[in-house]
């Protein structure tokens, strides 16, 4: 028994043992759930597989030509644009609130808690909360009537021209708190004496924001921008739960899920996912390169 204890081995033997033993599970998981799916996805994208039959045929680039020749498949990118624009609104608001709540203000913790809280909520609960919010004679309509804007009420989820604005709005409500708390953390790491020095120099709040806060959090802003872009393209929960992609609210991921699991077009869905993956990687790389250029 004594010899079986690793503590009795030499350190070089231990070293090899621990490196192998501690790496094997994480690496196996990483390979199985991060890389293997990508490899398989590429393979599926060249087939006509329906996802369940025993055999499938290779069809070359047929799936890809179909995606790029049928504008129907590209509509989903227009939907992503709504979420993309919403992200800027979200980050702007988050930055504003993070800045004012970084300084002395009454009820700081109360506001901090309330602004962040929506991010912690269950995705399905948020979907339902906003179904209730946007439904005819729901919360929004009632509020608008109460303040005399009754004539502007809409079928918020029934009108294809507005539906994506409504859904992106719900998305801003849900994720603003996340950006807010991240920015707040970044701003709070700025040394206090920098503000004091600038106070003495007579800088106002805007100047402090422009010349102290903004430069100090550029990195975290850029990081959030990257997350925002891939987030906009992979929007799923809210539109799926609320509308199932109807009335022109179908996002890329909803379309992929429908194609693969509802219509058994796994080959085509995989090709779409490959396209999406390339877009996300491309955008991220461009971001990282430009970020490095600035440093």
């Amino acid at each position: 028994m004594k010899y079986l204890k690793i503590s009795n081995w030499g350190y070089s033997a231990q070293r090899i043992f621990i490196i192998c033993a501690f790496s094997i599970i994480p690496l196996a998981l990483l390979f199985t759930f991060a890389y293997l799916p990508v490899i398989n996805m590429f393979q599926y994208s060249f087939t006509d597989w329906n996802g369940y039959s025993k055999r499938f045929d290779y069809v070359g680039f047929e799936n890809y030509t179909r995606i790029f020749s049928d504008p129907e498949y590209f509509k989903v990118f227009i939907v992503s644009l709504y979420y993309f624009v919403a992200t800027f609104v979200q980050m702007g608001l988050a930055l504003y609130f993070a800045t004012i709540l970084s300084f002395k203000i009454r009820g700081k913790n109360f506001f901090k808690g309330i602004l962040f809280f929506p991010y912690l909520l269950n995705g399905v609960a948020i979907g339902f909360i906003f179904l209730f919010f946007f439904k005819p004679d729901g919360t929004l309509d009632t509020l608008m009537q109460a303040v005399g804007l009754g004539q502007y009420t809409q079928l918020w989820l029934g009108n294809p021209n507005i539906i994506n604005v409504s859904l992106a709005g719900a998305s801003v409500w849900r994720y603003m708190g996340f950006n807010f708390i991240i920015f707040l953390g970044a701003i709070s790491s700025i040394q206090k004496d920098v503000y004091e020095a600038s106070d003495i120099d007579g800088a106002n709040r805007w100047q402090q924001f422009r010349h102290i806060i903004l430069p100090s959090i550029t990195r975290i802003l850029q990081l959030n921008l990257i997350l925002a872009i891939s987030g906009a393209i992979s929007a799923f929960d809210i539109p799926y739960i609320m509308t199932d992609g109807s009335n022109g609210s179908e996002t890329f991921v909803i379309q992929t899920v429908h194609l693969a699991f509802k219509y058994g077009k796994l080959g085509l869905a995989s090709a779409m996912a490959v396209v999406l993956l390339f877009i996300v990687i491309l955008v991220t790389l461009v971001q990282r390169v430009t970020m490095k250029g600035e440093e």
């Binding site: 790496s23 913790n109 901090k112 269950n122 909360i129 209730f132 919360t139 009632t142 996912a273 999406l276």
Partner: protein, 279 residues
């Protein structure tokens, strides 16, 4: 001469007004659902969504949602998955981080790069292929489907641990080695306890993600016995259709635990998110 203080007050009013408006927007959608959940069917039909319930202690909808909506099963499965995934993520994440931070060996750079590169792949894009893997592993419609996926895609935990390990001095390891401690003892007795703040961060960030996730259980565990809170709530869409007072109660049941934990752990939660995001 009076311009400065006047400007200051105006800015101050704007500041507070914007905060109050934001708090109102953040709260109203939830508060109206709380109101609806306490109304009777007839009351719901006739009253404005903004009107508070007549009886604040009418919990009939809650009982109905909890029982008919099978929410107990949802809570049970959620808790099982949460515990196993979080313990697993803490162990595997800290183990690989320990190896990557403390040892020099061939292939280490490739390993770090492999973990980094994986962050570039949004998991939603590869879901179609992942589904086939889960199927091939015979995990479809078992709790393990969700568990292995929460573990497998867990690169965040590795990052958080790596970041913290960097701040733990190597001298500690060395002095333990002088006392004859094995590498395993060093990991288990020294590193892991010192990683406590990182572990809290991982528990919070992962816990929130798992509790709120809809996609994974929806796709991989459709069996009724295996439903989690998210999927149990999603099912309200069918049978309760337009019974918004019952759906509202279901929504509240799903978010009350979050609310309680948030109120109790506020400080840690803020830190968790601030640390969890800084790579």
């Amino acid at each position: 001469m009076n311009v400065q203080p006047f400007k200051y007050t105006l800015a101050s009013i704007f500041k507070y007004a914007s905060l109050i408006l934001a708090a109102f927007i953040a709260l109203v959608p939830i508060v109206v659902v709380l109101f609806a959940s306490l109304k009777t069917n007839a009351e719901y039909a006739t009253s404005s969504p903004l009107a508070p319930p007549a009886n604040w202690l009418n919990f009939a909808n809650y009982t109905k949602a909890f029982v008919d909506g099978n929410m107990l099963v949802g809570f049970k499965n959620t808790i099982i998955i949460l515990i196993i995934s979080i313990v697993g993520a803490t162990l595997t994440g800290s183990m690989i981080a320990y190896v990557l931070d403390r040892f020099k060996f061939k292939g280490k750079k490739i390993m770090v790069a492999a973990f980094l590169l994986a962050t570039l792949i949004p998991s939603v894009t590869t879901q179609v292929a992942t589904f086939q893997i889960i199927n091939a592993l015979d995990l479809f419609n078992t709790r393990w489907a969700a568990i292995v996926m929460y573990l497998g895609t867990d690169i965040i935990a590795v990052y958080i641990f790596l970041q913290f390990l960097g701040s733990i001095s190597n001298a500690l390891d060395e002095s333990a080695m002088l006392d004859g401690a094995s590498y395993f003892t060093i990991y288990w007795r020294i590193i892991l306890p010192l990683l406590k703040p990182a572990i809290v961060t991982v528990i919070i960030v992962k816990g929130v993600n798992i509790y709120n996730d809809f996609y994974t259980p929806f796709l991989y565990m459709p069996k009724t016995d295996l439903q989690v809170i998210s999927t149990a709530l999603f099912k309200f869409k069918g049978p309760f259709g337009s019974q918004w007072e019952v759906i509202s109660a279901g929504i509240m049941i799903a978010i009350i635990p979050t609310m309680i934990i948030f109120l109790l752990l506020q400080k840690y939660i803020y830190n968790g998110f601030a640390q969890g995001s800084v790579k």
